[in-house]
């Protein structure tokens, strides 16, 4: 048997220095080259637009009070799809651990801070762009359904455009919160359970508290705080809630706490 050429044509000495742009490309290749990304994003679109349409149809069938918010109604699918983006946020990092890919990733790029920042940025960009398309689709379909009942709104009305874009921002923040838990726990099932618990179960459980307590607690619940950004009527008739951008900042604050803790651990833990 002949001795094979060892590594092929030699590379120039200057080639091969990692840069942030290169790592972004690498992470984009990773996210677009596995099927789970497409299935999850498809589920995101279907769930958001589907439930939004259902909620909009429901609005044409009943009475609506003074706090009826046609924009928020058409984006109602976000209550469910915040969990779908959460699943993707967990998977983009936990799959590195479940498959063992993280060992290859870190032996080819040992600068962990650079790698994890690029991964988070790429995921956030994918989540935001998909979220934007999804929210506009939900909005237009929902308004078309509600226009028959003359309760629809248009993008030019106050706060409507902010709320539709806010829906995409909300999804991105939920996704990054989930990404943080995925990095912290390094285990898909555990991280997804935690995210569902925090975004969903906590929101339901808080309703069981005495209403006087709720006024003080509700607005701090991550999902409830974040929801304000995709509502057009101030505080949705509930004075105890935060203003849209304040509420969104609270959600981002939670995500930042989890992310900072996760990245700090990631940088010093054995991989």
């Amino acid at each position: 048997m002949q001795v094979p050429p060892a590594t092929g044509p030699a590379l120039a000495a200057t080639v091969g220095t990692p840069t942030f742009a290169g790592v972004l490309r690498s992470e984009f290749t990773k996210i677009r080259s596995v099927r789970s990304t497409y299935w999850t994003l498809l589920a995101l679109v279907v769930v958001t637009v589907g439930f939004g349409a259902l909620a909009s149809y429901g609005a044409t069938r009943g009475p609506h009070g003074q706090f009826f918010d046609a924009t928020q109604r058409s984006l109602g699918g976000l209550y469910i799809s915040q969990l779908v983006i959460g699943v993707l946020g967990v998977l983009v990092i936990s799959s590195e651990y479940s498959t063992g890919m993280i060992r290859t990733t870190l032996t080819t790029l040992p600068r962990r801070g650079l790698m994890i920042t690029a991964k988070a940025v790429v995921f956030a960009a994918v989540a935001f762009v998909t979220g934007l398309i999804t929210c506009f689709a939900s909005f237009f379909l929902g308004q078309a359904i509600m226009s028959s009942d003359h309760i629809s709104v248009s993008l030019s009305q106050p706060n409507v455009l902010r709320a539709v874009i806010g829906g995409a921002l909300f999804l991105t923040a939920c996704g990054l919160l989930a990404f943080g838990f995925g990095l912290l726990l390094r285990h898909s099932a555990g991280a997804i359970t935690t995210v569902v618990g925090l975004l969903f179960v906590v929101t339901i459980l808080v309703n069981l508290l005495p209403s006087t307590w709720q006024d003080h607690i509700d607005k701090w619940i991550p999902a409830m705080a974040g929801t304000q950004i995709w509502a057009t009527i101030p505080s949705q008739g509930q004075p105890a809630m935060f203003a849209p951008w304040t509420g969104f900042a609270v959600l981002c604050g939670y995500a930042a706490i989890v992310l900072i803790a996760a990245v700090a651990l990631f940088r010093k833990r054995d991989a």
């Binding site: 590594t7 044509p9 590379l11 091969g16 290169g22 498959t99 063992g100 060992r103 032996t107 010093k268």
Partner: protein, 317 residues
């Protein structure tokens, strides 16, 4: 050049790597030997910055690997062929690695051809056989045309053709002046490939020498003799400080004396010799003797280590 100084890694109470100091030089294949659980993989993880040492340092050309400027140009490593996302195609797997280090994506096509995976480049890696997975891992290690290559048990589970391929590849890489650091628990494999040996047992370095030095330093030299006067020779050998075994095939095996001493002894005392042959101890045997006290999990072998004379010439595994 890989350099470890006082490298130590503890997991709780367990000491996986215990105060290792060694260097791995370019231009040759350095075999990293030890029984299973001796700390070979942990040492490689420490070199690559996957784990942090409890104490001590390990550097690549003077820097910790986490601080090198061109990681894939400096080190190509195959720790575990299964350390990849099985849902990704071979091509995409290598592409994302190349992009992270700003290597031209034309390299991906080149290394796929080098390892013979061009035809399956677009197939998802989870459908690959063990041998194909190993080749993909090696393709990833070669992507950056690196100066240092590290392979952890690269021939595990491979067929003879695959083993030969990896052996030849490692020799070619070393001949080009690169550093090749390869771990194995198969002594026979190292005997055929390695130039230099680092032997560890229970996390401690127990030998750092060439293959020849290792064999001569760690095995008793034996001489096989055929003579019509065996009893006379046996007495002379015993007087001169050697010991005699009789394997039962008409020859006698002498240990503790050099072949020249045996020849001189026979000549001076007019004992006729029909055969005088030094017995080449295998690396396998030398290794068994050296690590006998440091094997973590040992099967209860009747007679214990060193009991059988048959390991002299044959290979035990």
């Amino acid at each position: 050049m890989i350099e470890a100084r006082g490298l130590t890694k503890r997991y709780g109470e367990t000491v996986a790597v215990d105060n290792l100091s060694f260097s791995v030089a370019p231009g040759k294949i350095t075999g990293f030997l030890g029984p299973n659980g001796a700390g070979k993989t942990t040492t490689m993880r420490l070199i690559l910055g996957l784990d942090r040492p409890t104490s001590g340092t390990v550097t690549i050309d003077g820097r910790p690997f986490t601080q090198v400027t061109q990681p894939m140009r400096q080190v190509g490593a195959l720790l575990d062929a299964k350390a990849l996302h099985g849902g990704r195609s071979a091509y995409n797997h290598l592409t994302c690695l190349a992009q992270s280090n700003n290597l031209p994506t034309s390299r991906v096509t080149e290394v796929l051809a080098l390892v013979g995976l061009s035809d399956v480049a677009r197939r998802r890696a989870k459908g690959f056989s063990l041998g194909m997975g190993q080749r993909l891992g090696i393709a990833a290690a070669l992507l950056g045309d690196p100066q240092i290559l590290m392979f952890d048990e690269p021939v595990n589970g491979l067929d003879p053709e695959g083993i030969l391929w990896i052996r030849n590849l490692m020799k070619a890489l070393a001949a080009e002046g690169r550093t090749v650091f390869v771990s194995s628990h198969l002594m026979s494999e190292m005997e055929n490939t390695a130039d230099h040996l680092l032997v560890i047992g229970r996390g401690k370095l127990i030998a750092d020498c060439t293959v020849d030095e290792f064999i001569s330093a760690n095995s008793t030299l034996r001489v096989r003799v055929r003579t019509p006067q065996p009893d006379q020779l046996a007495k002379l050998v015993a007087t001169a400080g050697g010991t005699v075994h009789e394997p039962g095939d008409g020859s006698i095996v002498i240990s503790g004396l050099e072949p020249s001493q045996v020849g001189d002894l026979a000549y001076e005392n007019s004992v006729r010799l029909h055969e005088l042959a030094p017995l080449q101890a295998s690396l396998e045997q030398a290794f068994m003797e050296l690590t006998a006290s440091s094997v973590e999990f040992r099967a209860g072998v009747p007679g214990g280590p060193g009991a059988g004379e048959q390991v002299l010439t044959g290979r035990a595994v």
